[in-house]
Amino acid sequence: MIPFLKNRIVLTLVIVALAQTGVLAGMVVDRVRLLKTGREITLPIVPVDPRDLFRGEYVRLGYDISRIPVNLLDGPLPKPNAAFYVTLERKGDGAWLPIKLTSKRVEESSPDRIVLKGRAMFGRLQETPSTPTAAHMVKYGIESYFVREGQGPRLEALARDKKLAARIAVDSGGNAAIKGLLVDGVVQYEEPLF
């Protein structure tokens, strides 16, 4: 062993630093793997509450799939603050639409279907929806996008004009990550891996 590490306190601090570095590196590696190997889908961005769209240095992104009609729930209601799964299906015009919401992950082999892992936007899903047209508010971890200072208002305007879309990478576990933003179908903000 390196003589330097024979000292107990030095050794323990190296272990602590290595463990914490490991966790941080794990976060990055897992994300990079998702961005590199995940399936790509493109989702149009819909404006969220316009007053809240641009906050500080990040934009809040809303999607059609952020609202899942309550009648798409298949099986029991997911537990509070637990992850659940939303299956999307590609329609003729290329748009991805939700077809069901399940507590457990479902296997979908069709290229026209993809499963996303989501969580309730406000901690839990409504237990007793008020009307049949009510919707569950769902987040997928792709709702905030950090931008350079001053870029927010531009994106906000584009979102309001419905010209913005997000390219999303989805891995086999249903985890989703933003790969980049498209303006009028052209990639304008691309995320570097490192």
Binding site: L13, V14, V23, L24, R31, Y58, G123, G141, L193, F194
Partner: protein, 372 residues
């Protein structure tokens, strides 16, 4: 005030009264001088220095963050992390443990900041409490291995943050909190660090007191009050037996008062609509019953605290009593009870207590050996 300063003050008095010889006083002073206070000015300045360094680095990073690539940001974060632990190792070697502890705390802070900045860089969202738990576990690891009291304190703070956040999102009891709490409390006991045991108790209370809102139909504060009451009763019944194993009965009694009264307070004044209903007639009897339980319990706690010389418990019970009387007064102004009648009743109760305390004091004053 440090113990030494307290003794010094009494020492002059005892010396003047002739109870202690001059050589005795000199010997006591020399003994005190050889024992340094646990937190010197240097250590406190070192901690402040670490915090200021942290701010300097943070503002530098914030000013240049946009200009850096992701990779250079990551490397900067990791370099800062390793610099903190490297600094700690160096300071431990130089026999400067307090400075080293400050550096460990710095490392834990950088670790937490890195989790958040990486989440931001990669647009990760997930569940924010999970990130806090990841941070707490990193702090716990440092606390175990080093071993570090500063890291242990940070772990308790992070665990409470985690459970409150998780409860706010999931609206559930979150019994999962107990798993890392038991591990951290066991570590505090193993390190024989008394402030750590206090932190363990306070963080458990922070989890236990609101528990009634999340279990058994969401109004189970009676159960929390019962737990506090049983804990206090256990100390009353077996205080000396507990203290033979570990001297914790006095502090346990004080914390039991906090648990029991906090739950009774919630039943009377926070969740009161559920407990008393909205009907004006049926509610008064139950409020009086709960108020009587609170007042009798607090008075009993005061007497026991006086008997066992438990200053902390005495002041906590006093405070609880003051809050109870004030809240009852606010609740009953012009509505349920005539205000003057209310004051008459509280005056009678307090007078009765004052008499009891006086008798108790008198009995102690005439005990042989204490009388002067």
């Amino acid at each position: 005030m440090w113990y030494g300063q307290k003794v010094e003050r009494d020492l002059s008095r005892w010396q003047a009264a002739g109870w202690i010889s001059d050589t005795g006083a000199t010997a006591i002073r020399a003994d005190l001088a050889s024992r340094k206070p646990p937190f010197g000015a240097a250590a406190i300045l070192a901690m402040l220095g670490a915090v200021l360094f942290g701010f300097a680095i943070m503002s530098f990073v914030a000013a240049n963050w946009d200009a850096m690539s992701k990779l250079s940001r990551l490397l900067l974060l990791l370099a800062t992390l390793w610099a903190c632990y490297g600094g700690a190792a160096w300071l431990f070697q130089r026999q400067l443990p307090m400075f080293a502890q400050a550096a460990v705390l710095g490392g834990i802070a950088v670790y937490g900041a890195s989790i958040m900045l990486i989440s931001q860089m990669y647009h990760m969202e997930g569940s924010p409490p999970d990130a806090v738990l990841l941070w707490a576990l990193g702090a716990l690891l440092a606390a175990v291995l080093v071993p570090s009291t500063a890291a242990l304190a940070a772990t308790f703070v992070l665990l409470v943050t985690w459970t409150w956040w998780e409860r706010a999102l999931s609206n559930s009891a979150h019994f999962g909190f107990l798993v890392p709490w038991v591990a951290t409390a066991a570590l505090a006991a193993w390190m024989r660090w008394r402030p750590g045991l206090h932190l363990a108790a306070i963080s458990l209370i922070a989890w236990l007191v609101p528990l009634g809102f999340f279990i058994l139909g969401r109004h189970a504060h009676w159960l929390v009050a019962l737990i506090g009451g049983l804990l206090a009763a256990a100390v009353v019944a077996g205080g000396p037996a507990i203290d033979r194993r570990a001297r914790i009965s006095a502090a346990t009694f004080a914390y039991a008062i906090v648990i029991a009264y906090a739950a009774l307070f919630i039943m009377q004044f926070v969740d009161s609509r559920w407990f008393f209903g909205t009907a004006p007639g049926g509610s008064l009897g139950r409020l009086i019953l709960l108020a009587a339980i609170s007042i009798v319990g607090l008075l009993g706690a005061m007497l026991w605290a006086l008997k066992t010389d438990n200053t902390a418990a005495l002041w906590l019970a006093y405070a609880g009593f003051a809050v109870e009387v004030f809240m009852l007064h606010v609740m009953t102004i012009g509505t349920l009870l005539n205000t003057s009648l209310f004051f008459l009743i509280s005056a009678l109760i307090v007078s009765a207590f004052a008499y009891a305390a006086y008798r108790l004091h008198q009995r102690r004053a005439v005990t042989p050996g204490v009388a002067s």
